[in-house]
């Protein structure tokens, strides 16, 4: 039975999360730009730099947040099961016992594919925390982890 102590996610996942947030921030910026344009009655020439300034500000906030977010995101595999720790302000730990795993998905998005990363989705029979996701794993690591969790589960057949 394989075990390991808390591991961080792949550092390229931090990059991915920043890129996807940078894109999402464009949408978030639009209402702020419209708001400030109306408030200060800006001309078209000014709206574009204002847009970029706001976008940069929002992104910078996330950039700073993501440092701590990434630092706090870690997972470990014990004899009992998979444990995931995450969160900056609201810190959360999810523990999925090995023998409660129902099935495991591995999903890969277009950005993740570029960096050869995958997301592990562990399903249990629970209700509220029935699915536990673990992003930012190397393809091979995700596959190994899945195999490990499924294998240890096979030993005793759950109904």
């Amino acid at each position: 039975m394989k075990v390991f102590d808390f591991k961080p996610l792949e550092s390229s996942y931090l990059k991915i999360s920043r890129i996807s947030f940078a894109i999402a921030a464009i949408l978030i910026t639009i209402p702020f730009t419209i708001g400030s344009s109306v408030f200060w009655d800006l001309s078209w020439v000014w709206r574009i730099p204002v847009f970029f300034v706001i976008w940069f500000f929002i992104y910078a906030l996330y950039h700073w947040y993501s440092i701590h977010w990434f630092k706090g995101y870690k997972y470990k595999l014990t004899e009992a099961g998979l444990k995931i720790h995450k969160g900056v302000f609201w810190q959360q730990q999810n523990m999925v016992p090995r023998n409660r795993v129902q099935h495991i998905d591995i999903t890969t998005g277009p950005l993740e594919r570029r960096y050869e990363l995958s997301k592990l989705v562990v399903h249990t029979a629970g209700t509220r925390n029935a699915t536990v996701t673990l992003p930012g794993l190397l393809h091979q690591d995700a596959a190994d982890l899945r195999q490990e969790l499924i294998n240890s589960n096979q030993a005793e057949d759950t109904v």
Partner: protein, 498 residues
Amino acid sequence: MELKTAGYRLHNISPLFLFIEAIKKSVIPLLFGIVGTSGEKQDFIIIAIAVLASVITIVQFWFYHYWLEEDRLVVKEGILFKSLRQVPYERIQNLNIEKNILHRLFNVATLQVESASGAKPEAVIRVISDQQVAYIQRVIKERAKGSVEKGEQTQDATVDKPIGPDDALPLYQMSNQDVTTFGFISHRALLPIGIVASVLSQNDYYRNKFFNVVEKFVGQLQIERWAITEWLLYGLGFTLLTLITIWLSSILLAFLKLYQFNLSRQGNNLLAQMGLLTKITANIPIKRIQLLKIKHSPLHRYFKKVSVKMETAGGVTEKSGITMSWIAPLISRPDAQNLVTSIQPEVDWSSIKWKRLEARAWKRVFKRVSFFIFLPMTPLVYFYHAWGLLLLTLIPLAFIYAKAYVKKAGYAINDEIIAYRHGVIFHTISVVKVAKIQNISYLQTPFDRRNGMARITVDTAGSNPVYQDINIHYLDVEKVHDLMSRLSTQVSVSKFVW
């Protein structure tokens, strides 16, 4: 897949029941059509569409087949969109039977088969003859047991003695007085009456009609000329009348639903029967119970009673089918504890050592409650100045509440179970067997961190997705970590059987 046995069809009277069910489902558009605002021709169009749609559903009857295979129940249904469902017998969680007056007239019943999946029942067989129901019940019971024994040992140590159907061991019965008390406590009719009253009061026609009826009894009202005493008198009378109506109809509802509630044990199954006009028989394998709760409200405490409920896997709600979550709607407290122990022997109340939350937790509860006092106070002070400060008189109450909260809350853990109790006004004791825990989470909010606290929740199958019953809050971080590692080890060595 090849079906080895001959298929069955629904009873010949089925179209009638299918039609009634369809009408029931379209009852809201129908109501809007009849009670609707205009009362003109377009309403009849709505009614006509609803009736037509209902008639079409009757056709289902010719397309519904089911098979009782060696190890599974197979249901084929659908006209344009066909579906073939296969439910292995050992996966069947609950087997519920519904019989209303009409069913009894034709000696038929609606059978609902529930597995652990989804919000809809796996199969609703509407309707089949009584003999066929008994036959299906027997087949499912025998074969489920057989395949479980063949497959692997269940972790329940209780040996399956072959127990005949007549050996039902009575566990709990509800007298008519209990049902009455329960109806009074539950105030079940409050919401429907409130909705109907508010809808009707928006409708000019019905409002005028109501005033006409009232004036017939008490003469001209002339509200404009009422003095304060008259307001008080009529107001009091009206309130009393409303309360009595709500109580009486709640009691009526309780009788309709819980009349002759009877819970018995048949081998490893719980058998519950209830209902006045519509009789429901529910069959729940004991090992499928995920969580047990003992609840009481202030009214419960007045009558020195509690309610016992359970959660089974599978999210069938009242809307999507027959639900059965009662173990004992109204029972005295010691009896409740004995009942829970007799259903789940792992729950040994004498060995449950309740541990308190941190003593300093009261400050956090106090702050939280005070926040909700200050929140509405700010605008009140702004608009009414010093009068808004009157809300401050609630602060001592918040203090008492906070102290009581910490006193009443507690948790217990041993090798078999984890239990949590909480609530000042509405108190709940929840018990989960360790083997039924699916995953464990730990949460620390910024406020928790400041106080060195955290909370731990456990998730079970079939629990409420919004509200977790085992959610132990205001504990020291170290204790939570200990609890979590202890629970994880315990869970990982105990096998989960649906």
